[in-house]
């Protein structure tokens, strides 16, 4: 009798699943083949003939591997390796970029040139990749939905922070309002935020996120900044400037960094808030076609 586990493992080598899930699938299929083999062995003269008959259960191992992966995953087109590497990479990149912005904003005199300004950030990329590789190994417990939403959140955050970094470094027209309170708006940044909001909402829609989640994802940089400002900046302003200036300065900061950017992000997201999510129908066409691509369920 052949070693069914070894045989299944070899033939399903292309099956892209987390190691524990793959091991379980191999054990289960091997057990199934073993029982079929025992059954057909009773009617076959030789063991080789029984093995051959048993293996007729599977026409095409590649198709089986693809169908199992599709059945086990949540309908994504990317394979496990890509997913497990991409999302932690994106998450860590975002974190790295955000922290770099905070640190580098303090080093204007050291890096007056725009290209030089980015060098330290680029230098952190190997570290970012190393951290991503480590996180990828631990990616299994994160479910696919969270992993998918990471992309949209990451794109929104990276877009918002990187565009601010760039726009802070170059000359561009500003819009200054003097009443009711004097505020200067960074117009090119706001224009870019419209695109960033659109990208975030679009990716969240592709991840089959409901409308509310798409809205939160697209406006998340402004929302979070608003919350942080409310919790940290307002008390600090009170401590330093006292009433009523604290409210005035807070209103300027909040308007400039949270409310107006939030509106720009929302504007970009609007087209993707109207449409329903991509996969919300009960039996989407792709899924139905995918079913046909598999071996027939009932023969």
């Amino acid at each position: 009798m052949p070693d069914w586990k070894k045989l299944v493992r070899e033939r399903l080598a292309m099956l892209n699943l987390p190691p524990s899930a793959k091991k379980e699938v191999i054990a289960e299929l091997a057990a199934h083949l073993e029982e079929i083999h025992e059954k057909v062995r009773q009617t076959c003269v030789t063991d080789a003939a029984a093995v051959e008959l048993t293996l007729q259960e599977i026409d095409n191992w590649s198709v089986l591997a693809r169908n199992i992966r599709r059945a086990k995953s949540e309908g994504e087109s990317m394979n496990y390796r890509t997913k497990s590497l991409l999302w932690p990479l994106a998450a860590v990149t975002w974190l790295g970029a955000s922290l770099s912005v905070m640190v580098l904003q303090r080093t204007d005199r050291l890096y007056p040139n725009l290209i030089l300004f980015y060098l330290p950030w680029l230098a952190t990329l190997p570290l970012v990749c190393a951290a991503a590789a480590y996180l990828a190994q631990r990616a299994n417990p994160i479910n696919d939905r969270i992993k998918r939403l990471w992309l949209s959140v990451t794109v929104t955050w990276l877009g918002a922070s990187l565009s601010l970094m760039v726009m802070d470094r170059i000359d561009h027209p500003n819009l200054t309002l003097r009443r009711p309170i004097p505020v200067t708006f960074n117009l090119p940044w706001l224009a870019m935020l419209i695109l960033v909001g659109a990208a975030g909402a679009y990716l969240a829609q592709r991840a089959d996120a409901p409308r509310k989640t798409r809205l939160v994802v697209a406006t998340s940089p402004a929302l979070l900044l608003g919350i942080v400002m409310l919790l940290l900046l307002l008390p600090w302003r009170f401590a330093v400037e006292g009433y009523p200036w604290a409210f005035t300065f807070f209103a300027i900061d909040a308007g400039n960094l949270a409310v107006v950017p939030g509106l720009a992000l929302l504007l970009g997201a609007l087209p993707f808030l109207r449409q329903r999510s991509a996969n919300s129908s009960l039996l989407p066409e792709d899924d139905a076609n995918a079913s046909m691509g598999r071996t027939a369920l009932l023969e």
Partner: protein, 113 residues
């Protein structure tokens, strides 16, 4: 018949067969395939390649859940049982199929053919 309709019928009938079978008892893959074949006198048969992707998909959707336990011969097998969600799904699914066959019968007289 378009590909889409045909695939939905095939998929739906296979799911109904598994849900109905697991409503009575927990079974592992080989037993599910064997019992479906036996109970339908071989009219419906599952191969390994057709059974497991469907079982995994149903498990992902929460209709069934699998658990390793020894079978009557003491070998570890992954037994599937119906979840409360799967049990809820079964009655309307049966009703849908009954309506479908009635409609087909009215149209083509399939039950008396």
């Amino acid at each position: 018949m378009t590909k889409r309709i045909r695939s939905q019928i095939t998929r739906g009938s296979a799911e109904l067969a598994i849900l109905a079978l697991l409503a009575d008892q927990s079974l592992y893959g080989f037993e599910i395939a064997r019992q479906i074949g036996e109970r339908t006198n071989g009219a419906l048969t599952f191969t390994l390649a057709s059974l497991y992707p469907l079982l995994y998909e149903m498990e992902k959707r929460g209709s069934v859940e699998g658990r390793w336990q020894p079978n009557h011969a003491g070998r570890d097998r992954r037994y599937y049982r119906l979840t409360p969600a799967g049990r809820k799904q079964l009655a309307p699914l049966r009703q849908e199929w009954r309506a479908f066959f009635n409609a087909l019968d009215a149209l083509a007289g399939v039950s008396h053919a």
